[in-house]
Amino acid sequence: MTYLDNAATSWPKPPAVPAAMRGMIEHAGGNPGRSGHRLAMKAGETVYACRENLASLFGVSDPLRICFTSNATESLNLAIKGSLEPGDHVVFSAMEHNSVWRPLRELERCGVRISMVPAGANGIVHCDSIVSQLRRDTRLIVLIHASNVNGALNPVEEVGRIARDRNVRFLVDAAQTAGMVPIDVEAMKIDLLAFPGHKGLLGPQGTGGLYVHDSIRLQPLKHGGTGSDSDSPVQPEFAPDRYESGTLNTPGIAGLNEGVKYLLRHGVAEVQRRERALTERLLAGLAEIQHIHVYGPANAGERTGVISFNIEGRDPVVAADELDRTFDIACRAGLHCAWLAHRTQGTDQTGTVRFSLGALSTEQDVDAGLAAVRTLAQKGKR
């Protein structure tokens, strides 16, 4: 199997990830933050270690500002719904995923005002476009760090400065960059960082998190047991308990911790350097094949290893199916849960085939993908 679907979920995982999950279930299967016995305390230590490692990865000084969720979608919902009230104004981009667009459209029905900023033809959002949409009642800016459709990288650091200068809360969707692109929330002036655990961070599915700046108090998405302030009828005020009602996915977090440790050992900058070299190889290879249209920035420095393309005359979903069945290549086709981004690049009616690289992708993976696409393109229209 040649795996080129890392934007959906990374695979394979470092061997320590499943080993830690198994170890957690077999040897530390207590409920963290609830009971006081050794199994529970050991589980709690692993959960805290993961918080610390994530904080280290993202330049967060207080690990208690890292809140665990089940995925980036939940993190984005918590950040968006926890920030906005009727009458508030929010600015977001035309490259956002449905996990931003849908919550915002839902809130719009409740009186939140939304403004969408267009992106350039290559999918990159320009700071001037964001500034032009800011108003006195703007409460939040939401920006995808890198597109899950065409890999376009957005100028997060510049937008962070703009948001901080105007005292507007800044939420970054790092679904495609956490673990793949260096992120420092302090330097980038990010107030809320939503990330999945199962993509670039190399953890298992069902894990994710939200960094919440210590000046921010969100309305929780969930209410319930936290193992703290149990005599109170309301949620605790302090993080992360305020946002983490219910038992955590402790085995998943144990696996995530190993994924993050892998990244801390190898360095995210090194992961990005490797991925960029593979991206250049893939882009160059696709450019040599006739009847292929590639979307997004042409320069690998302006994008991640998420590459959307179409083969002239071929339905992308049918092409992806053939890549799987005939060439043993796993990729994703269609609209990628991001219709807005597809509309921006003009593929909302067709969708695209998407190859996406990960930390463990190799030159062999890229070459196998290129050879298969070349064969499909040469076979002609279908």
């Binding site: 963290p32 933050g33 609830r34 009971s35 006081g36 305390m41 709690g44 230590e45 805290y48 918080r51 610390e52 207080d62 690990p63 208690l64 936290t226 193992g227 703290s228 302030d229 149990s230 005599d231 109170s232 605790p236 302090f238 992360p240 308990d241």
Partner: protein, 81 residues
């Protein structure tokens, strides 16, 4: 006789324990006995009384609220503040 320094949650206790450990000191973590009556379920750092100043300093530095300090005695727990 050891002391219990009570906090709201296990998350806070973990943060303090790790912070204190980096300073070369070891403290234990326990579930705070219910009889202490410190706002429902709580967790505590358990330590030798000599370590109390270091724990108080760390709590202040990290802005984590101490919800009670107790010492164990043959008759139960005695509040130190």
């Amino acid at each position: 006789m050891r002391c219990l320094v009570v906090y709201a949650s296990l998350n806070q206790v973990h943060r303090l324990k790790r912070h204190i450990y980096r300073g070369g000191l070891y403290v234990d973590m326990v579930r705070a006995p219910q009889c202490l009556g410190v706002r429902g379920c709580s967790f505590a750092l358990a330590c030798d009384p000599a370590l109390l100043p270091a724990i108080r300093d760390a709590s202040k530095e990290l802005a984590i609220e101490i919800r009670g300090v107790f010492t164990e005695s043959p008759d139960g727990y005695v509040s130190l503040r």
